[in-house]
């Protein structure tokens, strides 16, 4: 079940709020949130709308969100499933996934946070809330600008 924090609902309502926790990494580009999803995974289906919202809210920041179809279906099938699931953030190709060389998760859903050099800086196991993601970014000192 999604945990909705009043604090972050306020964030969504008040646009352009910037959280700056630690400026040491503030200028680094292209941090990535990588969300493994699957069509049969109920908690994945529950958290996808949260990631959609966060994807749109983080567009002006240096943090992007991408998805991976855990089932490694052919590209056309993956895109069909992504559409059915309502995934609005980009879904990586199998080749792009192989380049990342992530260990496939033992639990679905799992979300990785990757540094600009594709180093895994956080592994979030199980269903996440918007608050969980933002707290993790803050804990890592990653600046996010929320539209």
């Amino acid at each position: 079940m999604l945990k909705k924090s009043p604090k972050y609902l306020q964030i969504a309502l008040f646009a352009h709020l910037t959280l700056i926790i630690n400026s040491a990494v503030a200028d680094e580009a292209n941090w990535r949130i990588v969300n493994y999803w699957s069509e049969w995974c109920a908690p994945c289906r529950i958290e996808i709308p949260m990631f959609n919202g966060l994807f749109n809210d983080l567009k002006a920041s240096n943090v992007s969100i991408v998805g991976i179809n855990f089932d490694e279906d052919p590209r056309d099938i993956t895109l069909d499933i992504a559409e059915e699931l309502g995934v609005e953030f980009p879904t990586l190709t199998i080749e792009e996934v192989e380049e990342l060389a992530l260990r496939p998760p033992d639990v679905m859903p799992t979300t990785y946070l990757l540094s600009p050099t594709n180093e895994v800086v956080a592994k979030l196991i199980g269903m996440q809330s918007r608050e969980d993601i933002l707290n993790q970014l803050a804990a890592l000192g990653i600046t996010v600008q929320i539209n």
Binding site: W40, A42, V107, M108
Partner: protein, 413 residues
């Protein structure tokens, strides 16, 4: 036919004998020789086959089932191992609206000539909803039943992760089927709880009994069932109110189910799906359960043994950790040795591994069965024993997937 034979010496502890309640221990150790032969059998499954399972009929006959795919059309097929090789494949059912999934796939059960087989068919009403359909072969009539949905809820939801087991009652050979049933997931506005249900079906496919045996279980892990001296034992990944997802057992006896009991308090707490169910095998009172857990993000394959039909279990034996992604199987040989299969991901190519344990849990040997892929497309290897022979099936994911089968013979000198 490719034949690989390896002979080697394996030193192992035969037993640890505690000579008194004050725990002064006497350790008896001996070097023993184990001969293992691994034979890759000619597969009866063509290209574009996958999702294979092995099942023995309890009388020494081995059956292989798998799914053929040709674009949208899927076929569930089986073949029987004869002295001359696999019999001609027989199609049990086919459809263009099946739910084909690497972790949740058809099963065949065979006993006294009767058979039962299931597959998953998409429901009309929901994108992620599917039903369990089955056909039953009655040896007396020598024909298959019409296909039928085995659950009677009529709810468009997820139903799957089936286990089947022949069960003799009042002289009849029936089939016990357990499954994950998502009828309650659609009961409210929010996604509800997955249940574990079971039913007994006669040789014509009629429902004789049906139960809900756990009202809240992990959503997407396989179930497994085996016949013990005290009745059918079902193992599954449970789900507590605070999201502990450890392995539980229930046993059916005299028309009733025992209450769920946790095999071991791994305390793996996750708000998600491991897609890695347990495997159970049994031989009279001897029971072996293998499972995957990853508390504190440490992937581990464990084995627990029982000598009282699952009333109690040993402390877990670590089979592999941490370079494994689980996908376990288990089987018991006639000699009482326990086989556990699992996937090793130490190297770039994953490997299907097989570890053999003594009835007391001492490691006797570990074999590499085959190279495989850690990807989901390679599915779950399945092992099954006949006597002291062990059969393994898996999907080879080359350019076109194809089902493979191997036979291992163990000689414990």
């Amino acid at each position: 036919m490719q034949k690989l034979i390896s002979n080697f010496k394996a030193g192992f502890l035969l037993g640890i004998l505690f000579s008194s309640v004050f725990c002064s221990a006497v350790i008896a150790a001996s070097a023993n020789s184990i001969s293992v032969s691994l034979e890759l059998l000619a597969s009866p499954a063509p290209a574009n086959s996958s999702l294979s399972r092995l099942v023995s009929d309890g009388a020494g006959q081995m059956y292989l089932s798998w799914v053929n795919q040709d674009n949208e059309l899927a076929q569930l097929v089986y073949s029987k191992l004869m002295d001359t090789g696999w019999s001609n494949p027989i199609v049990i059912s086919e459809g263009a609206d099946w739910f084909i999934n690497w972790a949740d796939f058809p099963m065949l059960s065979v006993s006294n000539g009767n058979m039962a087989a299931h597959w998953l068919r998409m429901s009309a009403d929901g994108t992620y909803d599917y039903d369990i359909e089955a056909r039953f072969y009655d040896e007396n009539n020598r024909r298959w039943s019409e296909k039928r949905v085995i659950h009677t809820d009529g709810v468009s939801a997820e139903h799957g992760f089936v286990s089947m087991l022949p069960i003799s009652e009042q002289g009849a050979t029936n089939t016990l089927i357990t499954w994950l049933d998502g009828r309650n997931t659609k009961a409210g506005e929010e996604y509800g709880e997955m249940t574990l249900r079971a039913g007994i079906f006669d040789s014509l496919g009629e429902t004789l009994s049906e139960w809900e045996i756990d009202h809240r279980v992990c959503d997407c892990c396989q179930t497994s069932a085996a016949m013990t001296a005290k009745g059918p034992l079902v193992v599954y990944r449970d789900r507590s109110s605070n999201e502990i997802r450890d392995i539980s057992t229930v046993r059916y006896s005299s028309g009733e189910w025992t209450k769920p009991r946790t095999i071991h308090d791994d305390k793996w707490q996750i708000n998600g799906c491991p897609v890695n169910g347990p495997a159970v095998s049994a031989r009279d009172d001897q029971v072996a359960v293998a499972w995957f857990t990853a508390k504190e993000d440490t992937p581990t394959v464990q084995l627990a043994l029982s000598s009282d039909s699952g009333d109690s279990f040993s402390e877990p034996i670590v089979v592999a950790s941490p370079e494994t992604n689980g996908r376990v199987g288990t089987a018991i040989l006639n000699a009482g040795a326990v086989a556990v299969s699992w996937i090793d991901i130490t190297e770039a190519h994953a490997k299907i591994m097989l570890s053999l344990f003594s009835p007391q849990g001492s490691l006797l040997h570990t074999s590499v069965v085959a190279k495989t892929s850690a990807s989901r497309r390679s599915g779950f290897p399945i092992i099954e024993s006949v006597g002291d022979s062990l059969f393994v099936t898996w999907t080879d994911v080359g350019e076109t997937p194809q089902v493979k089968v191997a036979r291992l013979e163990f000689e414990l000198n």
